[in-house]
């Protein structure tokens, strides 16, 4: 059964709907399915509303089709791996007792910013902007604080996305289509 894509009507300011809505036709008896769907929709909206995700994430979800059914999960996993690596690098650099190599920290932040913006992790991306400022002013304490925040956000986002994927899995296993 082909997976249809439909998009719940956006109800927070940042997202503009550019895609067509294609409503799936579901059998009326499947209450569990519609409940799950509604849950997923609410959850996704809340993530957008709170700024965890932005439009780019929706773009990624669009790219998911029959030829690449797990595209989003793959990208997101790669992102978190990357994130982990970069955070470790930065932590090591910032805990140097002698001179801190801010150049390296800066390039790591840059990488992280690029990755987060490609994935649509809005909060992390914004943190990277602030982080970069601290780097430019060679503020070690500021950088440490930013790093801790980034770490926290990463963990938070990871949990949230895991919840999202779990909800999607629920729907798929119930035989429905993944709403976008």
């Amino acid at each position: 059964m082909p997976l249809h894509h439909y998009r719940p009507p956006p109800n927070h300011g940042g997202i503009t709907s550019t895609q067509q809505q294609q409503v799936t036709h579901q059998p009326p008896a499947m209450d569990v399915l519609s409940q799950s769907r509604r849950q997923l929709a609410d959850y996704t909206n809340s993530l957008h509303r709170d700024g965890f995700l932005d439009d780019q994430f929706s773009q990624l979800q669009q790219l998911q089709d029959e030829s690449s059914p797990d595209f989003v999960m793959e990208v997101v996993s790669l992102f978190f791996e990357d994130c982990q690596k970069l955070v470790t690098n930065m932590a090591r650099a910032l805990s140097e007792l002698q001179a801190v190599d801010f150049k390296q920290v800066d390039s790591s932040v840059h990488q992280l910013k690029g990755s987060s913006s490609s994935v649509g992790a809005a909060r992390i991306k914004n943190l990277c902007v602030a982080f970069k400022t601290c780097c430019d002013s060679q503020n070690r304490d500021g950088c440490m604080r930013c790093l801790q925040e980034v770490n926290r956000e990463c963990v938070l986002l990871k949990n949230k996305l895991q919840t999202l994927f779990r909800l999607e899995q629920q729907i798929i296993s119930a035989g429905g289509s993944i709403p976008m």
Binding site: Q59, D65, V75, H110, Q111, G114, S115, G120
Partner: protein, 735 residues
């Protein structure tokens, strides 16, 4: 006569008494005789005495009294009877006369007394008359002074002279210590010391106009005594211990409009000047009424004189202005005539000079066309021919300018292919545009008829001119041309409210919009745009080769085609849109086969999929790489990803159509350069597009410098990627 009681000559002791009596009588007689003599003498001398006969009577009385006393002298001794008789007669006469006189005096003395009264009265009268005469004399003197002052004042029409003369004359007439004139300032809130008598250059004292003393003076037309300590009067340090009395009077400043024919300008004026007059200090002089009146009269006269002076100044100024304008107009007229003559001469001469080479080009190009040519050469020759034809038409029109102006130019109507006309114009302009790296797009509306009736050449000329202008004045960016059939509501333009195109069954209105991203138009230049030979200053300095005729001619052609042309621009640097509408006839001719719609469609719509498009993505960020690859795969491309410059250069080949390079990488630009070096042939080289998170000008400039074909902002959405790819494929360049 012994019974006589005469006194004996012997001197008894009573004889002393008689002796004295004798002497007294003698003197009395003497006096009595001399008094009338004196009286007569003095009366004769005075000649005004009215009561002569009273005098006579009085004289007779006195004479007789004297005679009596004289005769008495003889009675002291023995005397004869004659003497006694004479004595008696004398006494009787005297009695008579004296009674008469006494009676007379009763009448006379009151008269005499009243004379005295009258005399007193007359004396008083005389004194009064004296006084009055003195008054009249002073009044007459005042009048004389006023006349003299007025004469002085009115003998000049110069404002300053008037005021100065007033002060001088007043000072002289009234022997003033100081005389000052305060004029209101422009704001009307202060009085400024304008003129003084004694001080040569009055320093600009000002006093506010709403002081109570000033209000008092201004509220009445009389001269008012003011305190010497008020600010308007304290002009110089006190010369003496007691300052002289000070008087102030208002001088109305009249305006032209105050002079009505039927009523005097009494209270209709609001502006006053203040004249302050000071008597000399320590002089104990007081202001007399007549002096105050003089001052008031003078003040009025001054007002009138000033108004006359003002009127005269106005009329002189107006007359001078008119004369200047006349001279200027004359000059302009002569210049215009010269210019027209020059233009006609120029046109007459150049007529021949311009046509000859043009015809040579056209003729020879046509001949060249007949010879053996390669397809490329043929294309070039055809383009030359087309351009030359257009140019020849342009020359004809320029040189026949007078025909255009008269409106005797006729359109060559015929049916032609509208779509191919547009395409030809685009093809003509494309080479120039691509040299300037401008993107030219054409959008023809689907409901635009393929064939139309009209003057093809002139329409193409207009279009070419407008598009040419767009290209000329854009240094970068794009030109987009849209053509569609104008609907009723879009036919009205706010800038041409009297343009009412009415489409009918046989005709339709073609509306063409040419939008560019060039230097825009300064709103101030807008009126001159369609003027012949007029170019705005900014355009002329940009080394433009135009003659300034283009838009003017276009306007004329468009007008001939019952249309309208105008330009819209938001301002300098904000691009410009040229819009024109012309009336064309509907034609049923379908002799030429319709072009396949696919080519049209491909021009208007972006492709939805790009099968087989080989794309390389170079990005050192794994996540970004994956996302970009996913995007491109979703759009059907064949994607190769590399993460370093070396890998990219190793794998790049001319099979790749597009290379996306993340220029935030340290060697991003270098890779682009290397790619261009490696694959040098233009047609085969893949298009390089920069992916970056920075959208600033520096990045864009850098990309352009290394020869990249476009810049795309990360993160990229599906639609954006789609647009990017289709633009790339269509134009080999990004907007």
């Amino acid at each position: 006569m012994e019974s006589c009681n005469c006194i004996e000559p012997q001197l008894p002791p009573d004889e002393l008494l008689s002796k004295y009596q004798y002497i007294s009588d003698f003197f009395i007689a003497l006096a009595y005789f001399s008094i009338p003599l004196e009286l007569i003498y003095f009366v004769k001398k005075s000649a005004v005495f009215p009561y002569r006969w009273v005098l006579v009577q009085f004289g007779a009385f006195i004479v007789l009294c004297g005679a009596t006393h004289l005769i008495n002298l003889w009675t002291f001794t023995i005397h004869s009877r004659t003497v006694a008789i004479v004595m008696t007669t004398a006494k009787i006469l005297t009695a008579v006369v004296s009674c008469a006189t006494a009676l007379m005096l009763v009448h006379i003395i009151p008269d005499l007394l009243s004379v005295k009264t009258r005399e007193l009265f007359l004396k008083n009268k005389a004194a009064e008359l004296d006084r009055e005469m003195g008054l009249i004399r002073t009044q007459e003197e005042t009048g004389r002074h006023v006349r003299m002052l007025t004469h002085e004042i009115r003998s000049t029409l110069d404002r300053h002279t008037i005021l100065k003369t007033t002060l001088v004359e007043l000072g002289r007439t009234l022997s003033l210590e100081e005389c000052a004139l305060w004029m209101p300032t422009r704001t009307g809130l202060e009085l400024q010391l304008a003129y003084t008598l004694r001080q040569q250059n009055p320093v600009g004292y000002t006093v506010p106009i709403h002081l109570p003393v000033i209000n008092q003076v201004f509220s009445s037309n009389r001269a008012v005594k003011i305190s010497p300590n008020s600010p308007v009067a304290r002009l110089r340090p006190l010369a003496g211990k007691y300052p002289g009395e000070v008087v102030a009077v208002r001088v109305p400043l009249l305006h032209l409009s105050n002079f009505q024919i039927n009523d005097w300008p009494e209270l209709s004026t609001k502006r006053y000047a203040l004249m302050v007059l000071m008597l000399p200090s320590d002089s104990a002089r007081q202001w007399h009424t007549y002096e105050l009146e003089l001052v008031e009269v003078v003040a009025d006269q001054v007002a009138v004189a000033l108004s006359h002076a003002a009127i005269l100044e106005e009329s002189m100024r107006a007359r001078d202005l008119l004369m200047e304008q006349n001279v200027a107009l004359d000059l302009a007229r002569r210049e215009a005539e010269t210019a027209i003559r020059a233009r006609n001469d120029f046109l007459a001469v150049m007529n021949h000079e311009m046509r000859t080479p043009m015809h040579a080009i056209i003729a020879l190009s046509s001949l060249l066309q007949e010879t053996e040519l390669t397809p490329e050469q043929r294309l070039m020759v055809e383009t030359i021919l087309k351009s030359s034809n257009l140019l020849a038409t342009l020359i004809n029109d320029v040189l026949d300018l007078s025909r255009l102006e008269d409106g005797s130019l006729q359109l060559d109507l015929g049916s032609f292919n509208l779509h191919s006309a547009f395409r030809e114009v685009i093809n003509l302009i494309r080479p120039i545009a691509s040299v300037k790296k401008l993107v030219v797009t054409l959008h023809l509306a689907p409901d635009l008829p393929e064939y139309a009736t009209g003057d093809e050449k002139r329409l193409m000329q207009t279009l070419l001119n407008v598009v040419g202008n767009a290209v000329k004045f854009s240094k970068e960016g794009s030109i987009s041309i849209t053509a569609f059939v104008a609907k009723a509501e879009s036919l009205r333009d706010p800038r041409a409210p009297d343009f009412f195109p009415v489409p009918s069954d046989n005709h339709f209105f073609l509306r063409v919009q040419v939008k560019d991203t060039g230097s825009g138009i300064n709103p101030q230049d807008y009126p001159k745009l369609f003027t012949k030979f007029a170019q705005s200053q900014s355009l002329a300095t940009k080394n433009s080769a135009g003659s300034g005729l283009g838009l003017a001619i276009c306007k004329r052609f468009v007008n001939l085609m019952d249309g309208h042309i105008w330009l819209e621009s938001e301002g300098l640097g904000k691009g410009c849109t040229a819009i024109f509408m012309v009336k064309l006839g509907v034609t049923e001719c379908c002799t030429e086969s319709k072009l396949p719609p696919a080519t049209n469609a491909s021009m208007n719509h972006a492709q939805t999929a790009f099968p087989g498009l080989k794309v390389m993505v170079m990005d050192d960020n794994g996540v970004s790489r994956m996302v970009t690859k996913g995007l491109l795969v979703h759009l059907g491309c064949d994607v190769t990803t590399v993460s370093s410059g070396d890998e990219c250069l190793r794998l790049i080949s001319q099979d790749h159509h597009v290379v996306f390079i993340d220029v935030c990488m340290y060697d991003g630009y270098e890779v682009a350069l290397r790619v261009h070096e490696k694959l040098t042939k233009r047609h085969e080289r893949p298009l390089t597009v920069a992916l970056t998170a920075n959208s600033d000008k520096a990045t864009k400039d850098h990309c352009r410098r290394v020869g990249m074909n476009g810049v795309v902002l990360k993160p990229v959405s599906v639609d954006k990627m789609r647009t990017v790819l289709s633009d790339l494929l269509e134009h080999r360049n990004l907007v």
